[in-house]
Symmetry: C2
Subunit: 662 residues, 2 copies
């Protein structure tokens, strides 16, 4: 026992957030709040004071925020993150003898006890504090102590003793000799705002000839930028743009044998034309790519690249680094498989190789190569099939120099694996959203993502479809279902994306009995008619505009579920901390029938009296309703619109009379 | 990145039990099980194998227990603790290429794929394992590999490949080069069985003259040992037996001024006759005390001492170590207070003293002093008013050399403080039981103690009364309430105690408006009539006999709550792991009225078919009932008995006909 340690009487435990004993950081975007709670207590009846300490990135100075007592020994403090990078936080607490003295004095005075000795004790505390202070404060503290000792009027001494002024003054010079400092320093990875609020559009550039039958090019992609921007997307994600392997190339509909004119899967990366640092010659040149990035930027769109760390049998790595692959006893290289399924066009990298150090370095160089060419967003293909330590290392390495880089994890696998990848540093993650359809399923899942500690490190990105996934409800629910799923994705999650134009064209032909596209674009060129009748472009543009204009929809974690007495209606709300933006969403989960019900609005929470009318404005259909009280009636016809996205406006009755009732 | 680390693909997280990041140990008594769960997974689709590693006290060798997959990446393993002391445990997991190969082979064979190359790969794994093996195993593995390579019949190779024999053989020689070892070693404090199952009797020795008016002695105490043993108690706890201070001694009913013949509170420790290492001369000598310990031992009773680390103003410490006390500006020593309440007869020790090292050493020497005189059980008075680091240090110091010592924490304070003391090492803890009366309150509280992770480190000890606490329901409920509360304490918690003979004599006169005894024994000698009519001695003896004879009641944490359709009836059960002892308890919580209801027995859990009759034997009233199915009727008249303590016996119908129906 060290002499000091024995006198540290405060305990700090059950700190939240603290992921896996603090081994992993939590995540925030610039402007978000970090609220820290902990159990803080000491022996006996003495008062304690606690502070939240935090450090900005590349800053050695701790800043302090107060911790406020909640109840049952639980305390809470908070700070706002303002810079991209890694923040650190910890806690400190100490027995506050002066505060104890103040509380006791109050009780003694109430009980009419003599306080002569107590005044002398108070004077001592104040004198001690004065020694820790300087300037005006020091002078003031000395004066007060002197006044206490000068046999002044007791009532006046008590009044000064319990005054806010003295409390604040004393609070600036606490006796922290035996303060407990929490034994861990925890961290927050702070990302740029797009990590939390982003709208993705996935596009195969080779199908982008904009009405022609040829292999599309990066240059062609420029022509669709205005339309993608008009729809309101701010990330354009391109599947791999590298040379595609020829050996064992897959034909249309994933058949093992390809025809000479088949283009193959872009995820079978690498040929004699190059590997992960090359661009498929049929798509264009590096200059074309950099111009596309620039043009997209002009429209407020960032280009996201695919990171698929696997090779076609023709990839240069196979010859240059045979040790990075698994070789079978018959002398052939091991292709990807999940028995009995075989993916002969793709070779996994062997991360158990003795040269894994070289392999890791090379893969890092791939990421840096594209970063140097202007890419800051990566969608990572199947990260769950590469070792976890690799991702932890890679993301840390990259973000050290480029903290603004965003990595989206495309892991559709078991929940704990997906969450672990997020803990290791992925900025955003794909989810099970595509398979969550009923009100119960959606409620459970959203609560898991937003209301357990998962939200601290896992940022969901909701996709109603991907080139790999055409869910059953889109296959059968038709256009109405596409609209409904878009509203859900876009309002439940602040990060969402679609694979287009298959989505806005409501393409729903699937491989028999599977949730996969028939004639999938993964294996063939498509000649999309972007303006086909019934397309959802205007609808999508409207939804994305609502997202941009309503800050409540720019977070995922502020969601609250509300009651409605019809299981086909799904009702939830989001609002800003200051209630300046309140959005209520009611979705008809049945794409075939009209449903109605009585919703329950938590008016008390919004500061609305039961008798007070308020306005709800459907931002989707532009209707306005005057509602009153908790229970109000809604009816949703999916052939007109799948949902209400209501902005609630609380106004004084007077204003409403003149303003809204017109 | 170290080369090896990069190839460690398994993750181990969310380990349970693990208290506060492993900072605190869990607790078990000899014979109890430690079941460890964790999320264990790797990237990709490879199979994994995991082991639970554990070490006995003073043993450097790790033993291994298998971990079994449960679901959702959760694994579980267990071991039984057999020795008093500190066990250590951790986990290990690795990618098991051979197991993966077996699973893949099975799938390939089902799909009718060629397995020529796979057989060669299997041979390689077996050869590698043979190099790690020796003796017969090595020979056998080499033979199998040879057989695989010898172009043998494929069907036979597959049969051997998937055989349990080969799996077990290979399991003995795993390839652990890249095994993940969990990065913490966690610990289990293993106590002797009495830590988990004990029955306490608190007695003021000075009131033990067995029908005479004089100050009782330790010698007198010997005369009541047979009766205490007959009632079934195995720990006799004595409030402080040290000299009592005279300065500011409290009079009867805690009045500030005492009369010359007042005996004072035994917790006001110390006078010119000595301090914490002395015995009050009126009680007898050290020899008397040691003889009492011996005699009690003859009856299977251990004597427990009180550790009250505080002093009367007359304690020798005050003169010898004035620096261990707080001095006020007026030159007086600070007495205990909780403003506006004052305890002038007691001085707290000042643990913030600069000489705290000396103070700690002295207090340790007090504990060792009594250990050397044969004491192994301490009831610790108000531990929550002394610093936490002190207790952590003291208990560790003592248990290092005397791991069989039991410390009972008498902290009636806020829950987190009580739990923290338990984490620091207290063997047992007082609880809020005295203030939990309704079915809802009891259910909530028991679930908190037994069904959250609190049970891993906090062993409850239930007391229906103490010299400080005469709860309202005992004041008003009379004898019926005393019986009801005894059954609750004795069957809910495997550790319980009473303050006698006030309890068995149903003393219920309280200070007006308080939950305190009128004419409390804390401040005066009592002349109890141990055989007074209406005493509960036989009833208590019966309940304690039931506890001794039924192992299901010898744990607190095996409790399950069952349904009954009457909120005045409280129904719960406990059973041994092997169902050989099943106890169902139904308590009438209303001491005034008969209550009846339909209980719901979880017959399916006990392996009883819905149509099958079974016997329930009320061990309290000795009635037997034949029940059938889930729902059965009970009626409890509190004037006859407060409860049923049913032993359920599941028998074949045939046996029952001849055996039970007589």
């Amino acid at each position: 026992m060290k002499e000091i340690e024995g006198r540290i009487r405060v305990v700090i435990e059950s700190v939240a957030p603290e992921i896996d004993s603090g081994y992993f950081p939590v995540k925030r975007a610039v402007g978000e709040k970090v609220a820290v709670e902990a159990d803080i207590f000491a022996d006996g009846h003495d008062s304690i004071t606690a502070r939240l300490l935090y450090k900005k990135p590349h800053n050695e100075k701790w800043q302090e925020a107060p911790m406020i007592f909640i109840e049952n020994d639980r305390w809470r403090g908070e700070f706002i993150v303002e810079e991209v990078g890694i923040y650190t936080y910890t806690l400190m607490g100490w027995v506050d003898h002066f505060k104890t003295w103040q509380n006791d004095l109050k009780k003694r005075v109430s009980a009419g006890q003599d306080i002569g000795v107590d005044i002398l004790m108070g004077a001592e505390y104040i004198e001690e504090a004065s020694k820790r202070s300087s300037g005006e404060d020091r002078k003031r503290l000395q004066e007060i102590a002197h006044f206490f000792r000068a046999e002044s009027e007791k009532e006046e001494i008590v009044s000064i003793s319990l005054s806010r002024g003295l409390s604040e003054l004393m609070d600036r010079y606490p006796d922290r000799r035996f303060a407990k400092r929490y034994d861990k320093e925890l961290s927050v990875v702070v990302d740029r705002p797009k990590a939390l609020f982003s709208t993705w559009y996935e596009l195969f550039p080779r199908s982008c000839p904009y009405r022609s039958g040829n292999h599309g090019t990066l240059k062609d992609c420029e022509t669709v930028l205005p339309e993608i921007a008009r729809m309101g997307f701010d990330i354009l994600y391109l599947p791999p743009i590298h040379p595609v392997g020829k050996t064992n190339r897959k034909g249309r509909n994933n058949v093992p044998d390809s025809e000479p004119d088949d283009v193959g899967s872009p995820w079978a990366i690498g040929s004699e034309e190059g590997g992960h640092k090359s661009i498929h010659p049929a798509l264009g040149t590096m200059e074309d790519f950099q111009r596309l990035i620039e043009r997209a930027g002009d429209y407020g769109i960032e280009v996201a690249m695919d990171l698929a760390f696997q090779c076609s049998p023709d990839h240069p790595y196979v010859k240059e680094h045979p040790e990075w692959f698994k070789w079978r006893p018959d002398g052939t290289v091991q292709f990807a498989e999940n028995p009995p399924k075989k993916y002969e066009d793709i070779l996994p990298l062997n991360f158990e190789t003795e040269n894994c150090r070289d392999l890791w370095d090379e893969l890092r160089s791939v990421v840096l190569f594209w970063i140097e060419r202007g890419i800051r967003v990566f969608r990572v293909d199947n990260p769950h099939t590469k070792p976890f330590p690799f991702w932890g290392w890679l993301i840390k390495e990259i973000k050290r120099d480029y903290p603004d880089v965003i990595f989206l994890s495309e892991a559709f696998t078991r929940p704990k694996v997906m969450y672990h990848l997020a803990k290791l540093g992925f900025t955003q993650s794909y989810t099970y959203f595509a398979w969550r359809n009923t009100k119960w399923e959606l409620t459970q899942y959203i609560n898991e993502l937003a209301k357990t500690n998962v939200w601290e490190y896992f940022r969901p990105n909701f996709w109603p479809n991907t080139p790999d996934i055409l869910p059953e409800h889109l296959q059968y629910g038709g256009r109405n279902a596409f609209m409904m799923r878009l509203v859900l994705a876009a309002t439940l999650s602040s990060n969402y994306g679609i694979y287009g134009p298959a989505f806005e064209l409501c393409i729903n032909e699937a491989v028999q009995g599977k949730e996969e596209y028939l004639n999938s674009e993964k294996y063939e060129l498509k000649n999309w008619d972007w303006d086909r009748e019934g397309n959802l472009k205007d609808f999508i543009a409207r939804v994305n505009k609502i997202r941009r204009e309503n800050p409540a929809l720019q977070s995922t974690f502020n969601i609250e579920h509300y009651e409605v007495d019809n299981d086909n209606l799904f009702f939830y709300g989001k609002y800003t901390d200051d209630f300046s933006n309140i959005i209520l969403v009611i979705v008809n989960l049945d794409p075939f029938h009209v449903h109605s019900g009585r919703v329950k609005i938590p008016v008390h929470k919004f500061g609305i009296e039961p008798h007070q009318p308020y306005l709800v404005h459907d931002l989707l259909g532009d209707d306005k309703f005057i509602w009153q009280g908790e229970r109000n009636y809604v009816e949703i016809n999916p052939y007109i619109s799948p949902a209400y996205i209501l902005r609630l406006r609380k106004k004084l009755k007077r204003e409403m009379d003149f303003d809204y009732f017109m």
